[in-house]
Every structure is written in structure tokens, then in C-alpha cells.
């Protein structure tokens, strides 16, 4: 309990400091790339945003497996919270990617493997949230969405490997593929850490909100049962 309080106090400060550092590095520290020019700086936020989308959907995958296995509501709460955040970041990946593509490729969108599988991933997780909201019972919605969360995760490695499996217009791997100057790599790593702390912060907030929502639902159900028993 004490640790949670410390983390919830430290995490916002840490996130703020990391974002201040990453903005300094992206706009002042790192040199401008020769071929693409200033627009290449989108890369330092586009890649971390994509990383968070993948990480969020990995948490959905783990949470969904654990929920179907243990049937504990906390796993469903973690999975659904992560799916919501993941969808926000998956939307950002598609938007920032399109904005970057326009001046470099001359078009906003190309139906090539990386982009198409990323769009499919967006639809899968939109479906995950829709399944929950349209289910007649909450437990049924949680079960159905857990199945979508597990099957849908198959698309994540496909998106990640699309650039090596097929011939694509999208640039190849940068971190493990080499070819990135040290200053650019450091900037990217700082941005990755900043976005990861932001994800952790958002996930903690969303999970605690969902827990409260569940508690209120239980209280409201208790009231309804009481009213029925007393004939009110």
C-alpha cells in the first residue's frame, strides 16, 4: 500500500521530467536528418507511440488469458483499461504515420503490409471495446472480449514483422537494424522511456477508476436487492 502511494506520487513527476527531456532532445539536441529534413523528427514520437500500442495490446493479451483462466475481475479490469489506452495510441500511430508519409512518399496512405496490418490491429481493438459495450451481461462481455483480446494479439507480431517478412515501403527496423546515429538512438530511447511511464500512469489511473465503477455497480445492485426484499 505504501509502495503504491509512492509510485502514484512519483510517476507523474517522472513522466513530466522525461517528457521535458525528450522535447529538449527532439527539438534542440538531436541533429536534423539529411535526406528527410525536419519532418524526420516525427520519428521520435511515432516509434514510441507504436511501441506503447504494442505494449498495451500485450497487456490485453495477458489480462485476457488470466481472466479466462482465473475468472478474477481484476484481470478483466486491467485488460479492458489497457485496450482503451492502446486504442488511443494505435490511433496516434496511424495519424502520425500518415502525416509523416505525405511529405516523404507524396501520399497520405499506401495499402502496403505494415500500414494495412496496423489498421487491422486498430479495428480488432475497436471491436474488443465494442463487444464489451454491446454485451447484454457484463460477465458475458468480459468473456467475449477476452477471446477477441487473445485472438487479436496474433496481429501484433504480424505488424512488427511485416517490414522484414514482405517488401514494404515502410522503413526497416532501426533500433536493432543499425544505421542510426548515437545521438538519434539516445533521443529515441529517452522518448521510449517517457511514453512507457505515461502508459503506466494512464493504466494505473484507468484501473483505479474501473475498480470504483465496479464498486458503485455492486452498491447499486445491493440497493436494488434491498428494495426488492422490502417491496420498495
Amino acid at each position: 500500500m505504501k509502495n503504491t502511494a509512492i509510485i502514484s506520487r512519483l510517476l507523474p513527476v517522472l513522466t513530466f521530467l522525461l517528457f521535458a527531456a525528450s522535447l529538449f532532445m527532439v527539438f534542440i539536441y538531436v541533429p536534423t536528418e539529411e535526406t528527410m529534413g525536419i519532418v524526420q523528427r516525427i520519428f521520435y514520437f511515432h516509434v514510441p507511440v507504436a511501441w506503447i500500442a504494442f505494449l498495451a495490446f500485450f497487456i490485453v493479451f495477458i489480462g485476457s488469458i488470466m481472466y479466462l483462466w482465473k475468472r478474477q475481475i481484476i484481470w478483466d479490469t486491467i485488460a479492458s483499461s489497457s485496450a482503451e489506452i492502446g486504442l488511443v495510441f494505435a490511433t496516434l500511430v496511424l495519424i502520425t504515420g500518415s502525416i509523416w508519409a505525405k511529405p516523404i512518399w507524396g501520399v497520405w496512405w499506401v495499402w502496403e503490409p505494415r500500414l494495412t496490418t496496423s489498421l487491422v490491429l486498430w479495428f480488432i481493438y475497436a471491436a474488443y471495446l465494442l463487444v464489451r459495450s454491446y454485451a447484454s451481461e457484463e460477465s458475458r462481455g468480459a468473456r467475449f472480449s477476452a477471446v477477441v483480446g487473445i485472438i487479436g494479439f496474433i496481429d501484433v507480431p504480424i505488424v512488427a514483422l511485416a517490414i522484414t517478412m514482405w517488401r514494404t515501403q515502410h522503413p526497416g527496423p532501426v533500433i536493432f537494424g543499425g544505421g542510426l546515429a548515437t545521438s538519434m538512438l539516445i533521443t529515441l530511447l529517452v522518448c521510449l522511456v517517457a511514453f512507457t511511464t505515461l502508459y503506466a500512469l494512464l493504466l494505473i489511473q484507468r484501473v483505479s477508476l474501473k475498480k470504483r465503477e465496479n464498486e458503485i455497480k455492486i452498491l447499486q445492485n445491493d440497493d436494488l436487492i434491498l428494495e426488492k426484499d422490502t417491496g420498495g
Partner: protein, 54 residues
């Protein structure tokens, strides 16, 4: 500074969406607090009513 507009648009959209989501969470928290207060009030009223009746 060619294509600076694209860079600006990209960063603006990222922050707008992230802040939008934070605002959405904040709004949800406010609504939950309101609901908790209402439930507490209902419970208190019920308790005082049952105390009077007994």
C-alpha cells in the same frame, strides 16, 4: 524549415489526443465522485428512516 507544418501537426495531434484522454478520465472521476456522494446520501436517509420507524 521545409515541411515544418507536418511536424507541428503531428506533435499537436499527439498532445491533443493524450490530453483529451486525460480530460475524459478526469470527467469520469468527477461523475463517479458525484455518484458515490449520492449513494452515501441515500444510505444515510435509509438509515435515519429505519431508526425513526424502529
Amino acid at each position: 524549415m521545409e515541411n515544418a507544418g507536418y511536424l507541428f501537426a503531428s506533435f499537436t495531434i499527439i498532445w491533443a489526443l493524450v490530453f483529451g484522454y486525460v480530460l475524459y478520465l478526469n470527467n469520469k472521476q468527477k461523475n463517479l465522485k458525484r455518484e458515490i456522494d449520492l449513494l452515501k446520501k441515500v444510505r444515510e436517509d435509509e438509515n435515519t428512516e429505519s431508526a425513526i420507524n424502529s
